[in-house]
Symmetry: C2
Subunit: 248 residues, 2 copies
């Protein structure tokens, strides 16, 4: 049986949305991460308790599917559940429903446990895993990896210096901000005229305050492939699928 | 008698805060603007209704005083009230209280009405002013203007390209993002070791998507003076006062 479910509400407010009034994808990511955080607190395995043990969670992959990007003023219900885990990886699902109970988005995420001092991945520690009641499995999921699909017809690159407000309480760059850099590398006309259908993002290497990163995008019609480059190393890659905006 | 009061709650969550766990000042601004927006909707004078009449609100000045910057996890009560207005200017107060009812911050703001087509300030329109029940006055407030105090001992400048996520549903740069640019021009050590005591910000000229702005800061001890420069014109100025962080 998969683990305990946890739900909470979120109202989409103007500063969560873009110029079209739709929720920003980065903001959606922030909200989902908050809900999993809140579940951890609810189960007594807060980040503070983990920190005391010298441990922290790191996301290695998010696979997001969007049926309809919520709009300003909507009341969302977000549900999360740790589904299964093996020696090193935890798998977690997120479901986003609108007021009528219809699913508007879902996400599947992979988390690993990190030794905060050595900045190295460690075997999952029972004390911090058991409260979620997820299934233990020997299986390691083989999720699709982001890749460029087909021929590249357009390229773009933008540069970002990591800002003070990009750093969170864990003193590293909030991993959702990579999504903002990726999205912003696309142009305004494309973004305002297209809806995100899916995002598959894989994190490879941390970025620090003051670093300068390059957000590169290659486009083939409605598919975009993204890389965040820091000091000639790839920090993060993603594949996005888009569709033309459907008028309400 | 000053106008109707309106209150709502806000929980400070991790993505509202900086690496010290304190609420970001730009985020505090976003939250306060949301509350005044919600009051307008509650009174039936929503931005949508104003837009139909070709009108919108523009902020010209915020004077923020911080007693204690709230921390992650706190439940805040935010109250707003349109206090008075004259032919062209509306004055509004904001109060932020913590769970024990103690005030942690307050803000006084000046709004003008804009003709959206001509991008010009117009005389306040009764239909959109009366519902707030603020006092009419012939007086124009003389609020202090931001200025450099004393001798400049340090200078810094950073450059920002206006991003897709900086643009809001009104299709111009969310004016709170100017505060983010101002704050980020200060260095991380100063920001993490100092608390904001006050911010006085005056908006002079709009910034558009794709513009490159320069955030300049001059410092004299615990006072900082900020300018946002766009195409050699000053878009925005601010004066901030700080104090060393008091340990909890």
């Amino acid at each position: 049986m998969p683990g305990k479910k946890y739900s909470e509400q979120h109202r989409v407010v103007y500063y969560d949305t873009d110029l079209t009034g739709r929720l920003n994808v980065g903001k959606l990511g922030d909200i989902l991460m908050l809900v999993s955080n809140d579940q951890s607190n609810d189960l007594g395995v807060s980040l503070q308790n983990m920190k005391k043990a010298g441990l922290g969670w790191v996301v290695t992959q998010h696979v997001l599917t969007v049926d309809r990007m919520p709009r300003v003023g909507e009341e969302l219900t977000i549900t999360t559940q740790a589904t299964s885990y093996n020696r090193y990886f935890c798998y977690r699902d997120f479901f986003v429903q609108d007021q009528s109970g219809k699913q508007v988005a879902k996400m599947h995420s992979v988390f690993v446990m990190m030794d905060l001092k050595q900045r190295k991945m460690v075997r999952l520690v029972d004390e911090f895993i058991n409260p979620y009641s997820a299934d233990y499995t020997t299986k390691i999921e083989r999720l699709p990896q982001p890749q460029m699909q087909g021929e590249v017809t357009e390229h773009n690159e933008r540069t970002y210096r990591v800002r003070y407000t990009d750093i969170d309480i864990n003193r590293h760059v909030n991993n959702i901000h990579y999504i903002d850099w990726m999205v912003d590398a696309l142009d305004k006309d494309f973004l305002s005229q297209h809806d995100l259908v899916s995002l598959n993002i894989v994190y490879k290497k941390e970025v620090a305050y003051g670093d300068t990163v390059h957000s590169q995008v290659a486009k083939n019609g409605l598919v975009t492939y993204h890389e965040i480059i820091n000091d000639d190393a790839i920090s993060c890659v993603a594949e996005c699928h888009w569709q033309p905006v459907k008028e309400d």
